[in-house]
């Protein structure tokens, strides 16, 4: 009897000790889009689990539904996500609607300095109002829209000769947007190895953000501006400038003369499929996919190379990428902050890059060996110097949907002129800013 009592007392004691431990170890949920880098982050986070004792679970949503799903979650004050790697354009809404925890005090306390991260990424992923030292996220994943091409085709003598004959130039990575189009048109409908190939896969998706992300890749190099003076919401003459009109017309010509048939509603996945199946000579897509593309056994390795979105009047790339934020509705904010502290360490950032994530930490980017660490590393650095992002206003979703509609109407549905499309876009945006009380 005595031993029984002792035993049960011991068991109770152990159970109590265990439950006390469990109270400290939290289960954190991190939310992000379902794509290659997310898998790398799962790998990386195992180290955090081992160090902190917290358990990580992940909620990854496919890109076309990512914004819809996550913004609904935030708007309803949901507790699903403790940590959120939210898209760069959400930062305004995240800050103003109180979805994200402001991180300034935490950064000061833990000695995390934003000077340790690439300035473009801090500006784009962390600050609201833009450029002020008010931080709502830590730069987690640098990204931009870039290009890749079939190096094996570009190096074939018969193709090179045919290109020289048609254009009088040597076939090489394009130096301007117009050269890009010329190369794409050269490959359009061309027979290579007995199959019909096409120029390039570009973004034309209507439902979420696809065509806007694609067309800005042309608009920015032509010199497109959202406002005449930053912060003034004065768009007449900026959004519909002659350069913007030219760029929009360029994108339409590209769509009509240099993309595979039926690519009227394609985004990341469709573009990757087109390239990997050998349909196209070139494709635009986010740098995030480049490690996966390079590793592809058929179209990767020796057969692929990468280039930055070519300049036209100036250099310019469309910004992708995200910062990591702590959700204000989470009950486990302390553990979530612990994760950010762990993630910000230079050693972890270095592993992050090795695993296929794009670190924005200076210790990684400025490392002498960085440029040679991957065939696209140098391009990535170059692209991040000239990135531009869409509006990051709290009303960004409205602004984006208007642009999706106006651009798709013109480029894919062939309605009206480029000038009319941009004029209508200004009307839409003016209405949004009026409703916001900013005009």
């Amino acid at each position: 009897m005595r031993t029984r009592l002792l035993q049960s007392a011991a068991i109770t004691g152990i159970a109590a000790a265990l439950s006390a431990g469990a109270a400290q170890a939290d289960e954190l949920t991190l939310c992000w889009a379902a794509w290659d880098p997310a898998n790398a982050l799962v790998e990386l986070s195992k180290d955090f689990e081992a160090q902190s004792g917290h358990k990580m679970s992940f909620e990854f949503v496919p890109w076309p539904n990512f914004a819809d799903r996550m913004l609904n979650e935030l708007n309803s004050g949901g507790k699903l996500c403790d940590l959120l790697i939210g898209d760069s354009q959400w930062i305004g809404g995240g800050a103003e609607n109180g979805h994200y925890v402001k991180l300034n005090d935490f950064f000061d306390k833990e000695g995390i300095s934003m000077d340790d991260f690439a300035p473009a990424t801090v500006y784009a992923y962390s600050t609201w109002p833009k450029g002020t030292p008010n931080y709502y996220a830590l730069p987690a994943m640098g990204d931009a829209n870039g290009w890749f091409y079939r190096k094996d085709w570009f190096e074939r003598d018969d193709i090179k000769a045919a290109f020289k004959e048609e254009t009088g130039r040597d076939l090489a990575e394009p130096k301007t947007q117009l050269e890009l189009l010329e190369i794409a048109q050269f490959f359009q409908g061309r027979e290579i190895d007995g199959e019909t190939r096409y120029g390039a896969a570009i973004f034309t998706e209507r439902g979420s953000e696809g065509i806007t992300m694609g067309v800005t890749g042309a608009l920015y190099p032509w010199g497109f501006k959202y406002e005449n003076t930053p912060g003034s919401y004065d768009m007449e003459g900026a959004v519909n400038s002659p350069e913007a009109v030219e760029a929009l017309e360029f994108y339409k010509t590209f769509y009509e003369t240099a993309t595979p048939p039926g690519y009227s509603d394609s985004y990341m996945e469709q573009g990757l499929d087109a390239f990997k199946s050998g349909q196209v000579a070139m494709a635009m897509n986010w740098f995030a996919f480049f490690p996966g593309l390079y590793a592809d056994p058929n179209t990767g390795g020796e057969n692929i190379d990468f280039f930055v979105n070519p300049p036209q009047n100036q250099a310019g790339s469309t910004l992708g990428g995200q910062g990591i934020s702590v959700v204000a509705y989470s009950d486990k904010q302390d553990a979530a902050l612990e994760y950010i502290k762990w993630f910000a360490q230079p050693a972890i950032q270095a592993t992050w890059w090795e695993l296929g994530g794009y670190s924005a930490h200076n210790s990684v980017l400025q490392d002498p060996g960085f440029i040679d660490s991957a065939p696209f590393a140098g391009d990535f650095l170059e692209a991040m110097n000239d990135v531009q992002d869409f509006w990051q206003e709290p009303a960004y979703a409205e602004l984006l949907l208007s642009m999706q509609k106006r651009v798709h109407d013109f480029v894919v549905a062939d309605q009206g002129t480029a000038k009319e499309a941009l004029d209508k876009l200004i009307e839409d945006w003016t209405e949004v800013f009026e409703d916001e009380g900013k005009l």
């Binding site: 819809d68 913004l71 609904n72 708007n75 809404g93 609607n97 109180g98 998706e205 209507r206 439902g207 595979p260 048939p261 039926g262 690519y263 009227s264 509603d265 709290p394 979703a397 409205e398 949907l401 509609k405 798709h408 109407d409 013109f410 894919v412 549905a413 062939d414 309605q415 409703d435």
Partner: protein, 301 residues
Amino acid sequence: MASPIKRAKGLSDRAIAWLFVGPSIFLLLAVNIFPLIWTINLSFTNFKANRNRDVEYIGLRNYERILTDSDTWLTMQATAHFLFWTIFFQVLIGFALAYLINKKFKGNDLWTTIIVLPMMLSPAVVGNFWTFLYQPQIGLFNYMITFFTGGDPSSFSMIGEVALAPWAIVIVDTWMWTPFVMLICLAGLRSIPDSIYEAAECDRASKWRQFWTITIPMVLPFLMLAVLFRGIENFKMFDLVVQLTGGGPGSTTEVTSINLKREAFEKWRTGYASAYAVILFVTVFGLASIYVKALNKVKDR
């Protein structure tokens, strides 16, 4: 034990009736009438469900914006095109199929089952796999068309071209829902007693005459019911079209419910979307009321 029974006995008939009906009325008010009134209330405001800011009453501004916006009329036109042609084809083909199946040949039950299959699939699945069938380079649809007409299968894109996309969604909806119309027509055809046809034979009425004076009038109430169901369903069409075209190219296939969803749950213009919903509600309610009146008249005949 005795007292509650006594008390229940003491209740008047009217009170007992209220006791039974009360919960249903309460539920109806809570989940149906209250949201409706609240929506009407919101439609006069600038409320946005994702923003914590003061809500202002802005009068009829939302209604003015919607009704003067040329884009609203474009989505209405897209919806009308979709509604008219899907119902037209579904009634035509559905009735023809029902008429043939009703001939009671060997294996007609098997054929009924096969024909009814598409209706049992989820609209999202149907939308998704028809994007593959419509794919210009590998899709079966383009291959079949060019097999008969000649030419290059990848020379046209059902989903990507402005002229073809509205028909692409009509074809898929017709493929999916014709069986439904067929089933209802079949029920109508089977409800006609043979004796009427026999009497007509005695009067030497031709088959053609029998069809127009017996079959059609007696099936008409069923047919009209099918049209009502399909009409209401297709006015609300969302999932199939979203999966198939996403409203594109441009806004060619952006039917009203897609437009409304974007305003309400992507742009979060709750006030504006409420006004939009009220306008749609009035439209559908008005049209349906007129239609039901006509339906009742046909039934009375």
